[in-house]
Subunit: 330 residues, 2 copies
């Protein structure tokens, strides 16, 4: 089987490296990239068996194509693929991608690609703020989730082919509707990215940044780490998912305003402590590996009442409220 | 010289461990804690030379006292210290602390401690979301900053004594006004903490948390890591620094609203790209170690104009705007 990788940056080269080091020996990996630096380096580090000079050559030779190029380049790539497929009478090809957003890409595929080409959207939930094959890593996807967004028309054999690729990556596949994926990815990945650019800019723009930057320790560094994300990727994500990102930003602003109200006034001390205490208890379960419906089921609609919560926190709430009386009220 | 540590949790035990492993051989370390589990464990792991049974014993024996207990316990500790100092005619004692907020603690010291006791506020800019001597680490403070907030009345010899302690920790001392410290610490440390509780609660409360939690990868984990902070510590920080935290939250909400406006509408694509591009360029300098006045001087009042910025980004901005025309407008 021949797998053709289009785009040999961090993701494309990591897929290639993994296939070469852990995959089936009968699989060979071809690479194509308009960036000569990336393709040459990928060949040098053996992320690909060989590079091809044209898209046509890659399409003719490959059984499965993996696209790992910037999101906003994909529409134009689909047009080029369509041209080559029609010109060279290529059929039975399966294409998947690795982009952070899915709905727009599936629209482009439906609109542009010929009907004899199967496209299945994919999104590996792993990455790095680094770019380029220099930072590629055969274990990048190990243990992480890889979302696939097939539709009811996607042939089973094509799904199986892409599932084998994901299995070879050491990742866990997960089916999702493209629109749902984009909303959840906005929540868990895209919004946090823009929040961190914003947090960094707020501090950097401050008159006191000279002092603030000196006080920044591990907490601030992890709270702004995503600002190291390539702005080109962030831009493309936003163009193809702006409604969802804006929606989650609105909801987040609501929650921050609530937190602000609770923390500003001592009269809300109990509610404030229950808010951060509940967040902490549930965060610890999450950090401990509790994920998915089987663990959580229902949304957290209510924070437990005073007594139940205080019991859960080992009396910490009562103790805190007593301390307040002691310190500030007497 | 005898150093007495009050409170042998993560911070107290880490200071003790460091003194025992890297400090002057003539220094001995005494420990006192109302938590018998912590003090026994600290003795066992040799974070202290010996434990004392009463505050009185510790005060009489020590030349320098380091307080590492919860912030809201400190006022009452100052009252007990005052009682013992007066009863036992103790003089010439130097006390420092390690709390995340400084202004309130200095007020309490001024108000309560006898005049022959010198108090110097301290704040090591290092820590962990873990608690207890189990997680103590002799290298916890290595290379990090340790703020001291002496006043114009603080005797020089007392400052020198505390500076020697900080040097023994492998940390870098930094003098700051207590009120300034609290504002900057709110910006760089306390506000991000509450932002992360809020982000986690927003997602946890969502109906889709079952799915969202499955998509959470390294980005979301680092964006919510601080929600693992002990809520008791977070509560105390807020009680003693709420005005500053609320102030920075207001400013942050303003910035998020700006970002939201920019990302929601394609007509702002250029401004949006310049915003995230500038954040990224400056973040990379910061991540690379550029900190303090010598590096930054002036606040970032202006984002460079189109041409200057595009040059800086290697033509990426022009490219992005062309892609938009190509993808969405045609």
């Amino acid at each position: 089987m021949k797998i053709g990788i289009i785009g040999t940056g961090l993701i494309g080269a990591s897929i290639g490296l993994r296939l070469k080091s852990h995959g089936d020996k009968n699989v060979s990996v071809l690479g194509y990239d308009i960036d000569q630096g990336n393709i040459n380096l990928s060949e040098k580090i053996k992320a690909i068996d060989s590079k091809v000079k044209s898209l046509k050559e890659l399409l003719i030779a490959s059984d499965l194509i993996v696209i790992a190029i910037p999101i906003l380049e994909i529409k134009s790539l689909f047009e080029q693929i369509t041209e080559e497929v029609n010109k060279n009478k290529i059929s039975n090809m399966i294409i998947t991608d690795t982009s952070s957003t899915k709905d727009k890409i599936i629209d482009w595929a439906d609109e542009i690609l010929p009907k004899n080409i199967v496209f299945i959207g994919g999104h590996p939930m792993a990455g790095s703020t680094e770019v380029g094959p220099n930072y590629s890593d055969a274990s990048l996807f190990e243990g992480s989730r890889w979302v696939l967004t097939p539709t009811k028309n996607t042939p089973k054999n094509a799904i199986d082919t892409v599932l084998s690729l994901i299995e070879a990556m050491g990742a866990e596949s997960m089916f999702m509707d493209a629109k749902e994926h984009d909303s959840y990815a906005a929540a868990v990945s895209h919004m946090p990215l823009f929040l961190q650019y914003a947090l960094f800019i707020l501090m950097r723009n401050s008159n006191a940044w000279g002092e603030i930057s000196m006080l920044a320790s591990s907490g601030f560094k992890s709270a702004t780490r995503l600002a190291g994300t390539n702005p080109s990727l962030a831009f493309d994500i936003n163009v193809t998912n702006r409604e969802n990102i804006a929606h989650w930003l609105t909801r987040y602003i609501d929650v921050i305003n609530q937190v602000k109200e609770l923390l500003e006034d001592e009269k809300y001390a109990e509610d404030f402590f229950r808010f951060i205490g509940t967040a902490n208890l549930d965060y610890l379960k999450f950090a401990d590996g509790a994920i998915g419906r089987e663990h959580w089921g229902e949304p957290l609609t209510d924070i437990p009442d005073f007594n139940a919560f205080d019991l859960l926190m080992g009396g910490m709430l009562t103790d805190k409220l007593n301390k307040l009386d002691f310190n500030d009220r007497k």
